[in-house]
C-alpha cells in the first residue's frame, strides 16, 4: 500500500552515512583544498562545490517530483502524492539556495548579482512554476482531487521547465561556462584536484536532499496516523 515507506532503501542507514561523510569531506576540502589560480575567478572557484551542486540536487528533486506525479496518476496511491509534494518543497529549497549562492558568485565575477542570462531567467521561471504548484495545491480542499490535479500540473510544469533550463540556454549567449563560446569548466578549469571534491559534493548534496525529503514524508505520515486515532 505504501511503496515509498516500505522501500528498504529509503529506511536503510548506509546511504545516510555516505551523505554525512561526503558533506564533511566537501566542506573540509572545499575550503582548504588546492584550487587552480584562475584569472577572474580566483578563490571564488570554491563556490563550484556549493553552487553547481545545488542545481544537481534541485534537478534530482524535480525528477522525483515528476516521477511520483506520474506514479500517482497510474496508482492513485496517496503516499505517492505525498512524496511528490515533499520533493517539490525540497526542490524549492535547493533552487533558492542555488540562486543565492549563484548571485553571490556573480556579484564578484560578473560584477552584478543579476544579469540577463538565460540560465538565471530559467531559474526564476522554475521557482515561479513550483510556487504556482503549491498555490494550486492549497486552492483545492478535497484531498483526492488536489492530488490528481496537482500531479497533472507537475508533469506539465516539469516538461516546460526542462525545455526552459536545458534547451533554450543552448540557443542563446550565456555568461555561464560552456555556453555561448565560453569554455566549459571541464575543459581546463576543473583539474583533478577539484574533481576529487566536486563529485563527492554532488553525491553528498543529492543524498542530503533525498534524506530530508524522506524525513518530511515520514513526519507527514506520523501526523496522519495521530490524527486518525
Amino acid at each position: 500500500m505504501d511503496s515509498f515507506y516500505k522501500n528498504k532503501i529509503a529506511r536503510a542507514w548506509w546511504w545516510k552515512i555516505i551523505a554525512i561523510f561526503c558533506l564533511v569531506y566537501t566542506c573540509y576540502y572545499g575550503f582548504i583544498g588546492k584550487v587552480p589560480a584562475m584569472v577572474v575567478l580566483h578563490e571564488t572557484i570554491r563556490n563550484l562545490y556549493f553552487h553547481v551542486t545545488m542545481w544537481m540536487a534541485m534537478m534530482l528533486m524535480m525528477l522525483i517530483n515528476a516521477i511520483y506525479s506520474i506514479k500517482y496518476l497510474s496508482s492513485l496511491n496517496k503516499y505517492d502524492d505525498l512524496v511528490a509534494e515533499e520533493s517539490g518543497k525540497m526542490a524549492m529549497v535547493f533552487s533558492a539556495a542555488g540562486l543565492i549562492t549563484g548571485m553571490v558568485w556573480a556579484n564578484y565575477t560578473w560584477g552584478a548579482p543579476w544579469t540577463n542570462d538565460p540560465q538565471l531567467n530559467g531559474t526564476a521561471a522554475t521557482i515561479l512554476m513550483y510556487a504556482a504548484y503549491f498555490i494550486l495545491r492549497n486552492a483545492i480542499p478535497d484531498e483526492n482531487k488536489k492530488a490528481k490535479i496537482a500531479s497533472v500540473y507537475a508533469i506539465f510544469a516539469f516538461v516546460m521547465m526542462f525545455v526552459f533550463i536545458m534547451v533554450i540556454p543552448k540557443m542563446y549567449n550565456s555568461l555561464h561556462p560552456g555556453k555561448g563560446g565560453n569554455p566549459g569548466f571541464n575543459k581546463y578549469d576543473l583539474d583533478s584536484n577539484m574533481r576529487m571534491v566536486f563529485y563527492p559534493a554532488v553525491i553528498g548534496w543529492c543524498l542530503l536532499g533525498t534524506w530530508l525529503m524522506s524525513l518530511n514524508v515520514r513526519i507527514r505520515r506520523i501526523e496522519e496516523i495521530t490524527e486518525e486515532n
Binding site: 531567467n121 512554476m129 504556482a132 498555490i135 494550486l136 490535479i149 497533472v152 510544469a157 516538461v159 526552459f164
Partner: protein, 220 residues
C-alpha cells in the same frame, strides 16, 4: 474516422455557442482594442522596434489569457454534463484546443492589423512575422487551454489561470519574441530556421501532453 468527426462536431458546437452569445467574443475584442489604445496614448507614437514587439506580445498574452479563461469557466453545469456523457475527454480537449487556436489566430491577426494602424512600422520579413504570430497563437492557446481545464477543477478562480499559466508560457514567449524580432529586423530565413523548429516541436509537445494528461482531470 469517427474520432475526428466527433472532434470537428464539437468544434462546430463551440462555435455555435459562441455565436449565439456574441457578447463574450465582442468583449474580448474590445478588451484588446482598449489595451492597444492605452499604450498608444501612453507612448505618443514614439516607439522603437524592440518596444513595439514586446508590447505587442504582452498585450496579446493578456488578451489570450482573458479569451481562454472562459473556455471552461463559462460552461454551465448542464453543458459540462452533456460533454461528459457525449464525448470522451480526449475528444473534448482536442476540440477545445482546436477551437481556441482558431480564436487566438484570429485575435492575433486583428491585433496585429490594429497595432500596425496606430504604430506603423516596417517589417522586413512579413512572411516570417506572420508565421511566428500563428505559431505563437497556437502555443499560447494550447498551454492555456490545459491550464484552464486545471483551473476549472480548482474553485474556478480566474486569477489562478494567470498564476499557473504564465510560468509555463515563459519558454514559449522568450522564443517567440526572439523569432518575431528577427523577422522585424529582416534577418534571413536561415537565422530563424532553428527557432521555428524549436517552436513547432514545443507546440507538438504541449498538444501531446494535454492530450495525454487531460483524461486524468476530467474523470471525477
Amino acid at each position: 474516422m469517427k474520432f475526428t468527426q466527433k472532434v470537428l462536431q464539437l468544434v462546430l458546437l463551440e462555435g455555435k455557442l459562441e455565436w449565439k452569445n456574441k457578447q463574450s467574443v465582442t468583449a474580448l475584442f474590445i478588451y484588446s482594442f482598449s489595451s492597444i489604445f492605452v499604450t498608444y496614448l501612453a507612448f505618443q507614437q514614439t516607439i522603437d522596434l524592440t518596444t513595439w514587439n514586446s508590447l505587442f506580445w504582452i498585450i496579446l498574452l493578456f488578451a489570450s489569457t482573458n479569451a481562454i479563461a472562459k473556455s471552461f469557466l463559462q460552461d454551465s453545469k448542464g453543458l459540462q454534463l452533456f460533454y461528459y456523457s457525449m464525448f470522451s475527454p480526449k475528444q473534448l480537449i482536442l476540440a477545445k484546443t482546436l477551437y481556441n487556436q482558431i480564436l487566438l489566430i484570429g485575435l492575433s491577426l486583428i491585433n496585429f492589423l490594429i497595432f500596425q494602424l496606430v504604430f506603423p512600422i516596417a517589417i522586413y520579413q512579413i512572411g516570417q512575422y506572420l508565421l511566428s504570430l500563428i505559431l505563437g497563437a497556437i502555443g499560447l492557446s494550447t498551454v492555456l487551454t490545459l491550464v484552464a481545464g486545471i483551473v476549472s477543477k480548482a474553485n474556478n478562480n480566474a486569477a489562478l489561470l494567470a498564476i499557473l499559466g504564465f510560468p509555463l508560457l515563459f519558454p514559449l514567449l522568450s522564443i517567440i519574441i526572439q523569432c518575431s524580432m528577427n523577422a522585424i529586423n529582416g534577418f534571413d530565413w536561415m537565422v530563424n530556421q532553428q527557432l521555428f523548429i524549436v517552436l513547432i516541436s514545443l507546440n507538438l509537445i504541449t498538444i501531446l501532453l494535454s492530450y495525454l494528461l487531460f483524461p486524468y482531470l476530467w474523470r471525477d
